[in-house]
Amino acid sequence: MENNNILIYTELTDEYGIKDVSLQLISKAFELKQKLNNSKIIACILGPDIDYSLIIRKLEELPVDDVIIASSSELSEYNYCYHPEVFTGIVKKYEPSIVLIGATVQGKEIASYCASKLETGLTADCTGLNITNEGCLLSTRPTFGGQLTADILCKTRPQMATVQENIFKIVPQPKHNVNIIYENIQTCCIENRLKKIFSEVKTSSSVDVTKADIIVAGGLGACKDNGFELIKKLAQKLNAAVAGSREAFEKGYITKSQQIGQTGKTVSPKIYIAIGISGANQHLTAIKNSGKIIAINKDVNAPIFEHSDIAIKGDLFEILPELINKIGN
């Protein structure tokens, strides 16, 4: 009988922990599994030859049935010439029905490679996953620059999807035993012609937007004159994190780590203040779990208004200085 297994690429951090996005996907997979017959959750790890007992202990507290570990010196550091091929080999061998991968830099490469080699469908940057009555994976993602949302189905198996961090929540389970399988898959497709000669982890000085209680975010409407100066001033007074839309990132007003949206961060602060952000779908999806959403926008047709708790149709360059002043008192 055909299985309905869900395989999750379980990505390791630099310190050999498990990335949050992978833990979140495992938790989501458990929800999907309830709607499927004959379904197991398989966590697949690629990494160096190390002791995996701590990682396994962590997975015992999540709804994982099987853990597949492929370890070798080649896999100690991510490389397009090795990891995607090994992962594809595992997917080919275990024939899961669904493959879920975190939409990280390596996750996207691995997913693309695997889908191409297996001639199967891949839906990227999903914001929702569900199971249809027929037992198929229904992937939801923003489309058309985030202005619309699409439900996407896949005709082939496995059905593959990538998901950004913080779309789903980690739900721990009572501790249980997991079945461990060690795999040894040789690579041969791509000759490694990439030699890393330098690498540096960037230190970020800005407040982590995913952990902030209050976020002040600017969009295209704030990308002129002293728009972002005002935003920074407001954020400073509120002890808030500064963030922005994709347009603000593209125009250089914020860094990538401050970008909110489908291809940036998904956030859930207590208060989200959207300044000059029209509210493209991909942005709305990334802020929908916020406590209160406050919006300032000049465009009376901006979708952000429907998605705000408090909003004003007005000029941010007039309203923000007043707000900053008032908070001072």
Binding site: Y80, L122, L148, I294, G314, D315
Partner: protein, 265 residues
């Protein structure tokens, strides 16, 4: 060095036009070269300037996409190819990468370097580059922001993601996905436009690339869109006019104070 640059025509989503009913007004929106693809063209032209290279720009799309190919010729590309067939319509990443890879295999097999933009602003999937590389069994690097030549067969590639900067020595051939390229795309000069005006774009359809109906378009795409909708889960909060700024500010400050109180600050 022979370079292929894949570019895509996209609607300018930075300048979305809305109808009165809050729908996208596609007719009033411009079509542009996907911004990071234009950076990829610049990266190729910079290599051409520095060490000499033949640069061919390729786009899969409707006849209308010729305008972005002409623009690339005006910027300084040597050749431009349109992969165009009504049967390509509706291709997802799987089918698209199949078309692009078969172009390389059949028409440009001596290519040394293949460039993509990291992602398209209309789809944002970041899959096409790595997917095509997989079909060609070529190494691939993402988030490339700088390319330097070391010697004839090796390039020094700098990548930068949100949290890491890396430098690679990479031996040709391979695939690169360009993102936040350090140099802004050049603006074509007058003689570039003249060259582009007189240039005849080469065009290949599915039969030229030996692709069958089941490999391309809707039939060749494993994924399909079952439904498209606008999210309607609005909060429908209180909306003020600019004349009510005073009241708006009061509401905002109350909300902030409540939150701060909860946090015990």
């Amino acid at each position: 060095m022979k370079i292929a640059v894949f570019i895509k025509q996209v609607p300018d989503t930075n300048d979305v036009k809305w109808t009165e009913n809050n729908n996208i007004d596609r007719a009033r929106m411009d079509s542009i070269i996907n911004p990071v693809d234009k950076q990829a063209v610049e990266a190729a032209l910079e290599l051409k300037d520095n060490i000499g290279a033949y640069v061919c720009v390729i786009s899969m799309g409707p006849d209308k996409a010729k305008s972005i190919l002409k623009e690339s010729i005006a910027m300084g590309c040597d050749d431009a190819v349109l992969l165009c067939s009504p049967k390509f319509a509706g291709s997802d990443t799987c089918a698209t990468s199949r078309v692009l890879a078969s172009f390389i295999k059949q028409k440009f097999s001596d290519v040394d370097l293949i460039l993509f933009g990291q992602s398209a602003i209309d789809g944002e999937t970041s899959q096409t580059g790595p997917s095509t590389a997989a079909r060609l069994n070529l190494p691939c690097l993402s988030h490339v922001n700088k390319i330097e030549s070391s010697n004839e067969n090796t390039l020094k590639i700098c990548t930068e993601t949100e949290d890491t900067k890396c430098v690679y020595n990479a031996a040709l051939p391979f695939v690169l996905c360009i993102n936040n390229y350090i140099k802004p795309p050049r603006i074509p000069k007058i003689n570039g436009y003249i060259k582009a005006h007189n240039y005849e774009i080469k065009s290949f359809n599915h039969t030229d690339l030996n692709l069958t109906d089941t490999q391309i378009g809707v039939k060749g795409s494993p994924t399909w869109v079952s439904k498209v909708f606008k999210i309607k889960e609005g909060r429908n909060g209180r909306i003020f006019e600019q004349s009510e700024t005073e009241m708006f500010l009061e509401y905002v400050i109350n909300t902030i104070e409540e939150t701060v109180k909860i946090n015990g600050k």
